[in-house]
Amino acid sequence: MANLEIRSVSKEFKTGKVLDRISLAADNGEIVAVFGPSGSGKTVLLRLIAGVEQPDEGTILLGGRDVTDRAPETRGVGMAFQNFALFPHMSAFDNVASALTAHKVPRDVIRAKVEKVAALLKIDHVLQHAPRELSNGQKQRTALARALVAEPKILLLDDPLRNVDAKLRYEMRLELPSLLKASGSTVLYVTQDYKEAMALGDRIAVLSDRNFAQIDRPAEIYRTPATLNVASLFGDPTINLMPVEPWTSSAGPKIGIGGAELSLPPGYGHMAGNACVLGLRAENILVEDMASPESLPVEVVAVTPLNERTLLLLRTDDGREILASEAGTNEAPRRHGPAFARFDAEAVLLFDPASGRRIVPQSA
């Protein structure tokens, strides 16, 4: 049975509908990353589950119980807010302990639990300080400690690393997965950073346009995104999108780009004659000096060396611009000028322009 389940939940504000009949089920101990652009309703979703807001319609079940009408203090979830929401008039210790003091836990037990969690999050030496005396990183970990200390079955983390400086964010991104797994809670982790989502989540729920566009394992989302939108949200640089119209040939379906004819996997044969959008990830494009079958002539217009890879801006004969990414740095930096681009046909994605949905290749 799923530990956390929302069914057909909707929420509307004066500014418009934010969530439209969304559903999600998370298993015990699973970490689900809720990812979406800013304003997509991720925080609203967390608030609905925590009980701070009420859904207009739908049901929320925690541990199998229907909690939709129950007050937040009865739901037994732990939550970490984006802007920390620490109690300014209490010490860090009392802040963390507040998750335990509601349940008549004896003082020595509280002390033991708070100190244990604080040690885990490396804030044990600042427990007696007031929140205003803590650094941002310490505040964030205090907020996390408060969410964790009562060992809740459900953990809601609202972009906890957002207001933390880059170096600390990187460190926490390494520490958090083991921390969360060790807690054993079911975790909903909201983030705007797709890399964070991919690093932390067992599954990712992509929230866009008031609903979940896709809920899947990170690798699947990357390799087989459900929609154009999802494909664009994941990947750096953003996926290359080109309108094409395949036709059938004796060698299978083909498309034309920049004057060259390139083959598509046979599974796309049924799209012949239909306008499609081709999705091609930058790292799946090979730029070579020599022509080869299935390559198209391009001009290297710009070269941006980044440490571990190089970005190349290519222009095709018919004026389209494509971004390609090469691993490593060349000893001899690539020069501008004519070249040939070849891509792995199996890695190609095809989308329907009207609905944005990915076209699934049919098996023969």
């Binding site: 007050a71 203090e73 929401a85 109690f87 300014p88 008039h89 507040s98 003091t101 009562a150």
Partner: protein
């Protein structure tokens, strides 16, 4: 750092001294007068030098004035006590009733709340007699004239809108997320209100309470209309005092000093809160 010329500094200092003189002189003078005997008061020209006496105060405090005309009973202490009782009780009740209501107005957007806030605000500036004169007739019918209960109820008309106005602003400035965090941590709405919202709005509540106390204490017209001799606070009592015959001027001065001492002391002690409340949040960041 501006460079202000010496002549200018002198002029500035002189003007400030004049201003302080103007505003503090009456208080100072009446204070002096309260320690003077009648002869000292009536002496012309008035002098700053005299032998002080406590007889005026002792007459007030003991309630008896022994003079050549006989012994006069002075009920001023009763007035003082009435002021203390009415102001304290009214503010206390207004806080109990008003702070939760201010919280409701701040946190929940509901139609009734907006209507109440609007009504109270618009009547804040209405002439008091408009409400008091009909009320006095009602009070007569209800038997509430000249009762502490009736007066404390009417004093709510002064204290409650003030408290609502000021405290609401302070609650609105608190981030709701902090309260949500406490609730999600497992605490009921009431515990959140008492352990989080109220402590964090503490300065505002103190300012409002202080200001309400002073306004209640200084109130004149409410008590004039709805109280008679037994229950009158000092503002009305002092007036009656002045017009009574046989009272010496020194005692009037002493009565005035006793009437204003509490509010002046409060003002000095808590002036920071006062100024904040008085600015009505108009320039609060």
């Amino acid at each position: 750092m501006e460079h202000v010329s010496l002549p200018e500094r002198v002029v500035r200092g002189f003007l400030i001294a004049l201003i302080v003189l103007f505003f503090l002189f009456p208080i100072f003078w009446i204070f002096l007068m309260s320690f003077q005997t009648n002869e000292d008061i009536l002496r012309i020209p008035p002098s700053l030098f005299f032998t002080p006496t406590l007889s005026n105060y002792s007459a007030l405090i003991t309630g008896k004035l022994v003079s050549t005309a006989g012994t006069l009973d002075i009920a001023f202490m009763k007035n003082l006590w009435n002021s203390v009782l009415l102001s304290t009780a009214s503010v206390f009740i207004a806080l109990i009733l008003g702070v939760p209501a201010a919280y409701a107005f701040a946190r929940f957007k509901f139609r009734l709340g907006e209507d109440i806030a609007f009504t109270l605000l618009s009547f804040r500036f209405a002439p008091p007699l408009l409400v008091l004169l009909p009320l006095s007739l009602y009070f007569q019918q209800l038997g509430l004239t000249d009762t502490y209960i009736g007066l404390i109820w009417v004093y709510q008309l002064i204290a409650l809108p003030l408290i609502l106005w000021i405290v609401r602003g302070y609650f609105e400035d608190l981030s709701p997320d902090i309260e949500y965090a406490y609730r999600v941590a497992g605490h009921s709405w009431w515990r959140t209100f008492t352990r989080i919202a109220i402590p964090l709005a503490g300065p505002g509540i103190a300012a409002a309470g202080l200001l309400a106390f002073i306004f209640c204490w200084n109130n004149f017209v409410f008590a004039l209309i709805l109280a008679s001799a037994e229950k009158q606070p000092v503002t009305v009592g002092a007036l009656a005092f002045v017009t009574a015959s046989g009272i010496q001027y020194g005692q009037i001065a002493a009565a005035i000093v006793l009437s204003v001492a509490p509010t002046l002391a409060l003002a000095l002690y808590a002036q920071r809160y006062l100024v904040e409340g008085l600015s009505l949040g108009a320039v609060k960041g």
